[in-house]
């Protein structure tokens, strides 16, 4: 697809005597349907496309992009990129090249999804609202009942012969419920990601969201102190997502990561394994190549507690005298950076129930708020308002609210003493099983 446009772009680059460059084109068709009180409250359909260029002018790099697809805009974009390269003061050797393809077959495009009639999608969104409401009369509203899907197409080509593309699609279904108890409202939500429409279980989504809200009704306050803490797998994944940038080699080289200089050191409890896997079958961050066209791979970041690798693109890898891990990020609007694909804690061999047994008088965290204000990914410090449960050896005893949990992400990794086997990935492609942390500060 878009071969004609790319031919024109290559011709224009030649005409301007630009000899080293790459282009990224991304196109996205998406749909989202939001239902409220059994009516469609929002219906959004998009057909979006954008094109970005990177020009390598000696040792200087300039970027530009356009969403307008005509010859004049293409030429203007190349001119701007060239002009931008001229003010760059950071000289770096960038070697563009063609890369081999991955060997493993990955299935990331499911044509069935495109054949589902809009009517069926509307019905599903309706169910995401009606199921929680009929599940329990204390569920008073479902402010967010949303179905959405998208098809994404990526094409990358460079002056050294690389020319690759892929297409991927997926659907998500989300329910967010409010439940009313005595003197309080509590919320609960559940998000499902699927490749196949027939596999979306609206009953499970709606009932889980409702139950999560109901479970928190009657929440009490808790006394400040140090407690063993169990992170529900969703919340453990949220923590990893918030602090994921510490694994970026770019952040490390820029002096903005607390993992700088820690390679091969024991930074976490030896039970902890964290990987980034762009080939992970169940992930939605799965893709055949990254933002530079480099083949995807599985990378062990923390292995038995030891920091084994950062995530790299070819530029950071060159600086660190190592190989890219296939983690180049690139949107048409942005520059080449580093980002995770599917990043997650490997599952352990404990059952969730075992975690309660191991730490009588623990607190289980099931909701965290204020991630972007209460976490500092540079220092690792966090202080978050949370909801959860007081637990004993048999499990959850009663819900608690109005407290904050605070600590430091790295010290927390050192205090992970047990890992359950309930690994799940969230919609942002971060995942974790439930984790037991020996001790964290709770203030009520």
């Amino acid at each position: 697809m878009f071969d004609k446009e790319f031919q024109k772009l290559f011709d224009l680059a030649n005409k301007k005597n630009i000899d080293k460059f790459d282009f990224i084109l991304s196109s996205n068709k998406s749909l989202s349907i939001k239902v409220f009180r059994q009516e469609i409250e929002n219906f959004t359909s998009s057909d979006q496309i954008g094109l970005g260029v990177r020009v390598i002018n000696g040792k200087k790099v300039g970027y530009a992009y356009t969403e307008k697809f005509d010859e004049e805009s293409f030429a203007g974009m190349l001119e701007e990129a060239l002009e931008n390269s001229r003010i760059i003061e950071d000289e770096e050797e960038i070697k563009l090249q063609d890369f081999e393809d991955i060997e493993k077959k990955i299935k990331i495009y499911y044509p069935e999804l495109e054949e589902i009639p809009i009517k069926d999608k509307k019905n599903l969104a309706m169910q995401l609202e009606s199921i929680p409401l009929s599940y329990d009369k204390r569920v008073i509203a479902v402010p967010y009942a949303i179905y959405g899907d998208s098809i994404r197409f990526i094409k990358i080509a460079n002056s050294e012969g690389l020319n690759k593309e892929y297409k991927t699609n997926g659907a998500y279904s989300f329910a967010y419920c409010l439940a009313r108890g005595e003197n309080m409202n509590k919320s609960g939500n559940y998000m499902d990601n699927s490749h196949k429409f027939s596999e979306i279980n609206s009953k499970k989504i709606g009932e889980t969201a409702a139950q999560r809200a109901l479970d928190l009704l009657g929440a009490k306050n808790i006394e400040s102190g140090k407690y063993p803490v169990i992170f529900h797998h969703d919340e453990a994944a949220t923590m990893l997502q918030t602090f994921a940038s510490i694994f970026s080699a770019k952040k490390v080289q820029e002096g903005q990561s607390l993992l700088r200089g820690k390679l091969e050191q024991e930074i976490a409890n030896n039970k902890v394994n964290i990987i980034d896997d762009a080939l992970y079958e169940k992930g939605f961050g799965t893709r055949p190549f990254d933002g530079e066209g480099y083949p995807s791979q599985r990378t062990e970041l923390i292995k038995h507690g030891v920091l084994n690798s950062y995530i790299h693109n070819t530029i950071t890898a060159k600086k660190a005298a190592t190989k890219s891990t296939g983690n180049a990020s690139r949107s048409y609007k942005g520059s080449v950076g580093v980002s995770s694909s599917n990043m997650f804690f490997l599952k352990g061999n404990k059952k969730k129930q075992d975690l309660y047994k191991m730490a009588p008088k623990s607190i289980e965290i099931v909701s965290l708020a204020g991630m972007h204000s209460g976490c500092n990914p540079i220092s690792g410090d966090f202080s978050l308002s949370a909801e959860g449960f007081v637990c004993d050896k048999d499990g959850r005893k009663y819900p608690i609210q109005n407290f904050t949990i605070s600590g430091n992400f790295l010290s927390m990794l050192q205090k992970v003493t047990a890992i359950a086997d309930d690994l799940e990935l969230n919609s942002n492609n971060f995942g974790s099983p439930s984790l037991l942390v020996e001790e964290l500060d709770i203030s009520g």
Binding site: D47, E83, P143, S443
Partner: protein, 462 residues
Amino acid sequence: MIKKSLIEKVLLKAASTGADFAEIYAENSMNSKIQLLDSKIKKSINGYDYGAGIRVIFGTKAIFAYTNDLSEKSLLNVAETVSKADEGEEVISGVNLKKEEVDNIHKVEVIPSGVEKAEKVEFLHKINKSARENSNLIAQVNITYSEIEKNILIANTEGLFKEDSRNYVRISSNAIAAKGGEMQTGVYRPGSHQGYEFIRSLDPDEIGNKISEQAVTMLNANYAPSGKFPVVIGNAFGGVIFHEACGHALETTSVAKGSSVFANKLGKQIASKCVTAIDDGTIPNQWGSTNIDDEGNPTQKTVLIKDGILKSYMIDKLGGIKMGLESTGSGRRQSYQFAPTSRMRNTYIAAGNDKIDDMIASIDRGIYAKKMGGGSVQPGTGDFNFAVQEGYLIENGKITKPVRGASLIGNGADIIQKISMVADDLKLAEGMCGSMSGSIPAGVGQPHIKVDEIVVGGRKEQ
């Protein structure tokens, strides 16, 4: 951007299956960003954002679609997509657009894209130099200059047809201080809805010193204590507390659903008597100001709370239909990729009569949250959490030691009743606000205020 006759044709098509209203928003924008890091210009990127969004409203249902392709064929195609989302008898049988000129109250003297990149580069270097010379603990300085020139067109089946141009410039700077493996940041992000003359009015040394001092102060601080304390919240960006904890709950997006704690409270006392709060889009060149909102209505100065009594919500077209209220010119969106919804402009607590010194003197043991960080609020419950970027202990009526890692946690409806003092030193600051209709420039502000009790999440001193 698009011919009038084509717009009329597209709107009519979009409304052809019984919609009560159809609207098109087209945009042609230029963006530019220059980033300095490691004392070098690392990145420079330019781009054109281009596209159109079409919205139709059936009763209280909103259908929206967008595209980058503004050709007749593509626009008619999008119009057909939105029309097919619902079906009924045709309500609108004709569209007669009347072009109306927009009065520009945000004067631009120097078009940013006309300024040599070399001048912008030199400005970034000056900030970097001051920040690093201020302290040898500064390990990194990251500064981005950004400019946006946004040209928009809005037309609807009621005959509205307007075009407007908006210029934004901003410096986003942070410094990292490091010592013994620990790091802390200092942040300052001044911006304005005007031309490059705003950047020329800033003192780069002052910016550099500011971020450097903040980072170093926090590096030398102990962890904040946890518990309930009286808190004095600083002016300017301190207004983020009101923005997050109350502002979002006063948008019709949440009020119309009844999910806001402030639903059905018009005319009622919802805050302490010393609280008057305003959302104002008319302040010339202010970050969150506009000439018209993104639905084409003139922007307004809306008094939200007067002496503690709720006077108005922030209302967009759809929210107005749902609640039976007139728009307050509050319909905003990030770009053509978002349907508009009710959003804040420049939201602030008005100046009172108290003095900051008296506030501090009134507290035996508490926290002075001099600079706030970002925050968030849980819709439905009003529970909020935001970080203190620069905080101090108050002991026996005096500001004593700096403290770090603190966050303020509470509930919006609860906290505005606990504001006991409001100072006379109102200032505004600039932020980016993210919500359903994307990320938009929003001003926040307040004078110093004293809240009698807030939960401070910190860590006990080790």
